[in-house]
Amino acid sequence: MSNLSDDKICELEQTANRIRQSIIAMLVSAGSGHTAGPLGMADIFTYLYFGGMSHDPKNPKWTDRDRLILSNGHICPVLYATMAHAGYFPLEELETLRQFGSRLQGHPHREFLPMLENSSGPLGSGLSQALGMALADRIDYGKQSRKFFFCLTGDGELNEGQNWEAIMMASKEKVHNLIVIVDRNNIQIDGFTEDIMPLNSLRKKFEAFNFHVQEIDGHNFEAISDSINQAKAVYDMPSVIIAHTIPGKGVPFMERDYRWHGVPPGKGPEDFYKKDEQNAKAIDELRSLGGKIKCGDK
């Protein structure tokens, strides 16, 4: 049962598809960067910026906005692309990704792009920052706080011990408006997460730390929306949404292949396409996917 209309779902799917095309284009233009994670998280970012979060692209410093704290900064192409599509800055600026002087640094830097909530890249610190923000807000507003603090983190990133320090404290402090979204895509740079450093049951781990836990299909807008609504309704504990996603989602020759974690189209594995074909093929795949979305491109 979803509170999203068919039209809204359709609109979100089309927006996510356009964001994925922007991600491919900006990575090609940059000649380096991460591909799999940004494509995999495009649906969740789309939902947050086009429905899930209270925010105002025309007034990025609006005090009462919800905060999105990106912990795994390397997936910033999806953050930048989504922000541009939401109206924070012109779409053309996306082409400057990773270029000298660009506001769109290879990993997010708040001094270059002040509308970001945090700088990130070195893994494992975002959850602590989101927790600090939520605690600061509680000093001012107590449990009456109307803001939500979304921390977006990756599964490989949970190898970092600092996350578990923050998870313990979030639980101790019963930070009800902290919503952690884990990109459970099962890959990290060197391989599959369960080969590199098994996380086993993330659900059981978070439950043991007294988090409210939900597991969802991270590409299903109804599930994304419902889980975020449920997390917002939780009153006395922090929430985690374990979002099962497909790395490289939307471009079949990239999907589920950890070798696409940290390379752009044009520099990826050549199992299906030569390097010089990868960009065009990726865009083709996404365009044809757009045509398959049930309501068509409006």
């Binding site: 945090n118 610190s125 602590s128 920052q129 923000m133 600061a136 320090e165």
Partner: protein, 333 residues
């Protein structure tokens, strides 16, 4: 002689001078800062009493957070709070914060450029019996290489209080280095303090000044005692208290060094990368003079009594005295 305008304590050189741990001044300063400004919050990694955050924690329980033994989380939670407009002070032993959480300080505090104040207690070798694991003699180096960071190493408890208050009123990341042991009081409430300003505490009234000692932290006291000894021997020595190590007060240093044409730096820290290195980096480019460095020379400490360790590792009064003589000889070679 002691410089009158600095309004230093009169009993500095008395046998029975008063000693208070530098960290005590931090505790007093934090409490006062918190009373003045409700944005001030405190976070501690399971060392509330020994880092002197306890009075603040009792007075402002809603603005105090016990993070547990988790220094990385300590730094980044504070970063998040600062991003929301708070002025967080975080405290632990210097060995663990900024020792263990350096990258979190670099990325989540300094790269974000948010005003988190890091109080590193139990810095230096004078931690004593706890041994080398707990003696942070690398922290100045770790902190001064990070852009946006201000580094302060107060010489006594009174100055530590002022530094804490000044840090609370400053919108940058600040590292305040504190020591465990009782340290003789040098300054008074009236002694001027300003972040970024070094102060000349001692100079000869009778003879030409021929060496500048630039000291920081608890060893400023030793430097003053050595300067007094030289004055009695007819050798003029200037002593500068370099309480702010970054940004460096180039003007005060240069004025003194141009006068003496020789310099000795004194710190309870590794010679490599510490305060002396900061001074040398500056002087080498502007006014190179014979220099000597009093500090820990690329070794770890061990258990012992504070004074015993200070002497053993070459930071006692005799070592400073020899360093001054050394630069005097080189100046005349």
């Amino acid at each position: 002689m002691l410089i009158t305008e600095q309004k230093l304590r009169k009993d500095i050189f008395d046998e029975k001078n008063e000693s208070v741990a530098i960290r005590v001044g931090f505790g007093l300063g934090l409490l006062e800062a918190a009373k003045k400004d409700e944005r001030v919050v405190g976070l501690c990694a399971d060392l509330v009493e020994s880092t002197k955050m306890e009075d603040f924690a009792k007075e402002f329980p809603k603005r105090f957070f016990e993070v547990g033994v988790a220094e990385q989380n300590l730094a980044s939670v504070a970063s998040g709070m600062a991003a929301m407009g708070k002025i967080p002070f975080i405290s632990s032993y210097a060995m663990f914060s900024p020792g263990r959480n350096w990258e979190q300080i670099r990325t989540t505090i300094c790269y974000n450029d948010v005003p988190v104040k890091i109080a590193g207690s139990h810095a230096g070798i004078s931690v004593g019996p706890d041994g080398g694991t707990h003696q942070a003699v690398e922290d100045i180096a770790l902190m001064r290489v990070i852009p946006n960071m201000i580094v302060i190493s107060p010489c006594d408890s009174v100055e530590a209080k002022k530094a804490t208050l000044a840090a609370a009123g400053n919108d940058k990341p600040v590292y305040i280095r504190l020591a465990r042991e009782a340290t003789p009081l040098i300054t008074t409430e009236e002694t001027p303090f300003e972040i970024g300003k070094a102060s000349r505490l001692f100079e000869s009234s009778k003879t030409k000044n021929s060496v500048t000692i630039i000291a920081t932290g608890a060893l400023v006291f030793n430097a003053l005692r050595v300067a007094q000894k030289f004055e009695a021997e007819g050798v003029g020595v200037i002593v500068i208290n370099l309480s702010t190590i970054k940004p460096l007060d180039k003007k005060t240093i240069l004025e003194a060094v141009k006068e003496t044409k020789a310099a000795v730096t004194v710190e309870e820290h590794q010679i490599a990368g510490g305060m002396g290195s900061a001074v040398a980096e500056f002087l080498a480019q502007t006014f190179p003079v014979p220099m000597d460095f009093v500090g820990v020379n690329d070794v770890f400490g061990q258990s012992g009594k504070p004074q015993q360790l200070i002497e053993h590792y070459g930071m006692g009064e005799d070592s400073i005295y020899n360093a001054v003589n050394n630069v005097l000889r080189r100046k005349h070679d």
